[in-house]
Amino acid sequence: MRMKPVASALLAFLIMPLSAHAEEEVNIYSYRQAFLLEPLLNAFTEDTGIKTNVVFAKNGLAERLAREGRNSPADLVMTVDISRLNELVEKDLTASVNNDTLTANIPAHLRHPEGKWFALTTRGRMIYTSKERVAEGELTTYEQLADNKWDDRICTRSGKHPYNIALIASMIAHHGEADTETWLQGVKDNLARRPQGGDRDQIKAIAEGVCDVALGNSYYYGNMLEDENQRPAAEKVRMVFPNSDGRGTHINISGIALTKSAPNRDNALKLMTYLSESKAQHIYAEANTEYPANPKVEVTGVVASWGELKPDTLSLQTIANNREAAVRMVDRVGYDN
């Protein structure tokens, strides 16, 4: 029986983290890495005195939130990719936010009509070409990627990756399913190798001569330019803003949503508005070379040097709605095989 005190002490220690509720705080479930959020959250805590708590995971947080239900400690969900935000709305896990600062800072096409999510940054899905082997202006649209000319010259990551799925979903919105499938088959036939690795790996593959053309989000290129070891590879590669002369470049977002059950609702709203204001928007853009969602915030640094991004104004909701069709298309085409 002498085990009992020991056992209960151990149990108390194991479930302790929950009992620390005394101070002002806000709890975040994040699909973005904690180190990406750190500069922002530190600035927020410094300015407001509100402590931030984060759990980061790439999947499963929506299930956790749903099952925890009314007692969930989470106030906010931060995520990348519109589909994730849409999933939260569909599962009815997010609350509507009607806040003047947020509506003033975030343009209407970058937030949910009822305020169930807000974009904080945008990123373009860029085309990368070899400076040596592809002439400037030779490749300017997503549509051209299916051209025979690029046979055995294209590299991409898995077609199932959310960023590619969103791009394909936007193609479906613009061209319809049948034409998009023909296009996707064309791109697949042009691949120089089986889809693999991340976006950075595709840029590296161009530098290595494995392929001449690649797809990748803008900030990967920016971050490679800022990493001493990866800069030489990035410098051999040119970033192209696809469809600039037409409908604009496909963009995706990182965003934030208030949970229905939020126990620290006021603090959560403070953080949401804080993140939409210029100080935080600057940090976001500089720390991860993304585009601020707040149009009043000027783009600076390496991102500014790339020139103007003309975004495709297609509604993000449409992209989210076409996600399933895009996933099934990738399977039918056998893009990853």
């Binding site: 151990l10 149990l11 220690f13 194991l14 479930i15 302790m16 983290p17 929950l18 709890n27 890495q33 904690a34 180190f35 990406l36 708590n53 984060v54 759990v55 980061f56 995971a57 790439k58 999947n59 499963g60 299930e63 956790r64 099952r67 925890e68 239900g69 007692n71 969930s72 400690p73 589909s83 999933e87 569909e90 199932k160 959310p162 799925i165 190798r193 089986r194 889809p195 693999q196 690795g197 976006d199 950075r200 790996d201 590296k204 593959a205 290595e208 001569g209 494995v210 990967y220 070891n229 590879a233 996600r323 399933e324 996933v327 099934r328 399977d331 039918r332 056998g334 990853d336 095989n337």
Partner: protein, 562 residues
């Protein structure tokens, strides 16, 4: 002794307990199994409620490829781990060659390297920008990737090699323990009856060690089946990849749970087949520590060959990754070494040791209950309790959340109604949830090895102990636990190292602001910044080494050699 019962109805031994005491063991086994199997049942339950039927689409498109890749991966890893694990275990147990004493524990080292880390390291080494290809290009004057052919590490073959290299220690550990526990006289008898060493190995040693080897191999198979990190990184489309696709991209958790359930049945069938094939065997060894074993004295070339055989897996599975990680850890040391990092390491240590202890106690309870009540029902209970291991960590995490958050909310409602108390989430989102998840996940590891260890203790030990007045519990503590010391330590060690490496369930279940070494690595690795995670990766590896060496020593000490 390896007694094959002549007929199936011949009772193997009389029941080890009778009367009231037996109930206590039975009930505790039942309760434990129920709690431990809850997450698995939750997943099976979810499988009944898919958002839509995914199978027509899967069968039309990707399923054949998923199955094909999965089977080839599993076969490849099985062959690789058996070859490396059994042969090296035999060599270090029975042959004398330079470095043997070092290899005894060194062969376990790759076990401390997480599969996702070794995959990263070899990609870094063998890809175009890596040192190997740079050297080749310099040497031959090639200028770009199109000038030459180089094996693609990101492939099915690459994944097989990576997974095999870090998982073979399961087979090695369990076969070595089995070889050590075999009575040396068996070997001598076989030799004196005219069998060669090789023939004795195949006809006497291997069959006796088979239950242990099978346990090791089935652990390997389950880990291979649920591996996501490596196959995802290498873009190998296995069933697990399909599962995550269904869950994350199609938003169909029920469909994903169906795939998980099918993977479970796959494992169950494998394990059952293996058991069925040796259903008539029963073996007990009266371990005789007084009689020393004489290791083979080999000729010089053979000794060299032995050393080489044992060096290769250690170098490939441990030395190379450790060197690469060490290199990066030094280069990025300033960015990596923070106070947060130390706390992270302590979190890992605390969680893993708690979980190792918990699984040991539960595993012992279950295995011993089964010994007391060797009925069909108990056998099924044992199988049920170890299913968590066959499930991808992220799916298991959802399986943990469902009953746990359900219980928390139920209790909260109850307390609210009765006393007006607000208990909130008592267990969800705490370290307890993590320890529970680890226990569910890794119970198969400890229960499996304890069970196979217990099976080799002859029932006459129990009978003697009981007739001298010991209770079943007393017999366990005073007789079995000392006999099984090596096995128990092995079980705890394996679970500890496994917990240190566990990633997907930890990510989903952990409390706020809480990192383990594995999650710490992952947040950088998942943003394609792997070099920043070298230090924590190295620490996981190093933290695994110390217990490995300690325990390996104590296993080796359990038998006298000359």
């Amino acid at each position: 002794m390896n007694q094959a019962a002549d007929s199936a109805d011949y009772p193997s031994h009389p029941p080890l307990v009778a009367g009231r005491t037996s109930k206590r063991w039975l009930i505790s086994a039942l309760l434990t199994t129920f709690v431990v199997a809850l997450p698995v049942f939750s997943v099976v339950y979810l499988a009944f409620f898919p958002d839509e039927n995914i199978w027509p689409h899967l069968i039309d498109t990707t399923l054949p490829r998923y199955l094909d890749n999965t089977i080839r991966l599993m076969l490849g890893v099985a062959v690789l781990t058996l070859l490396i694990g059994v042969s090296t275990a035999w060599l270090v147990t029975m042959c004398e060659f330079p470095g043997r004493r070092i290899f005894e524990w060194a062969l376990l080292l790759p076990f401390a390297v997480p599969a996702y880390v070794i995959a990263y390291v070899y990609t870094d080494l063998l890809n175009y920008a890596g040192p190997v290809q740079i050297a080749l290009r310099d040497w031959f004057g090639w200028t770009n990737a199109r000038d030459y052919w180089f094996p693609e590490i990101r492939s099915l073959g690459g994944a097989t090699l990576m997974i095999g290299l870090v998982l073979y220690p399961y087979v090695y550990l369990l076969s070595r323990a089995a070889f050590l526990e075999q009575s040396p006289s068996l070997f001598s008898v076989s030799r004196s009856l005219g069998h060669s060493a090789l023939s004795t190995f195949c006809r006497v040693v291997l069959p006796i060690a088979r239950p242990a080897i099978a346990v090791g191999l089935s652990l390997v198979m389950m880990e291979t089946l649920n591996d996501f990190g490596t196959v995802d990184f290498f873009a190998v489309q296995t069933l697990t990849a399909g599962l995550f696709d269904t869950w994350m991209n199609l938003g169909n958790l029920g469909g994903a749970a169906q795939i998980a359930t099918i993977m479970l049945s796959f494992v169950l069938i494998l394990v059952t087949l293996e058991r069925y094939s040796r259903r008539r065997q029963k073996q007990f060894s009266a371990r005789d520590n007084r009689q020393p074993v004489y290791r083979f004295r080999l000729s010089r070339p053979l000794r060299m060959l032995c050393t080489l055989t044992c060096t290769l897996p250690v170098v490939l599975g441990f030395v190379v990754p450790a060197l690469v990680l060490g290199h990066y850890a030094i280069e990025y040391f300033a960015q990596s070494w923070t106070t947060e990092f130390v706390r992270t390491a302590l979190n890992s240590l605390f969680l893993s040791s708690t979980a190792a202890l918990t699984t040991l106690v539960i595993g012992l309870t279950l295995a011993y209950s089964r010994r007391l009540h060797d009925t069909q029902g108990m056998r099924i209970l044992m199988r049920l309790s170890s299913l968590g291991y066959a499930m991808p960590g992220a799916v298991l995490a959802v399986g943990v959340i469902v009953p746990m958050a359900g219980f928390d909310n139920w209790l909260d409602g109850l307390m609210g109604d009765w006393f007006g108390w607000n208990t909130g989430l008592l267990f969800s989102g705490t370290a307890f949830a993590l320890v529970f998840a680890y226990t569910v996940r890794f119970l198969a590891v400890s229960a499996g090895s304890i069970e196979s260890g217990l099976q080799k203790v002859t029932p006459s030990m129990d009978m003697a102990s009981r007739s001298l007045g010991q209770s079943p519990g007393g017999t366990l503590i005073k007789v079995h636990m000392p006999i099984l010391r090596g096995t128990l330590m092995t079980a705890a060690l394996v679970v500890f190292v496994d917990c240190m490496k566990e990633l997907p369930a930890t990510l989903i279940l952990r409390p706020f602001n809480f990192d383990t070494l594995a999650t710490y690595i992952y947040q950088f690795a998942s943003d394609e910044m792997l070099s920043h995670s070298a230090l924590p990766a190295l620490i996981i590896v190093l933290a695994g080494i110390v217990p490995i060496i300690l325990m390996s020593r104590s296993i080796g000490n359990s038998r006298s050699f000359q």
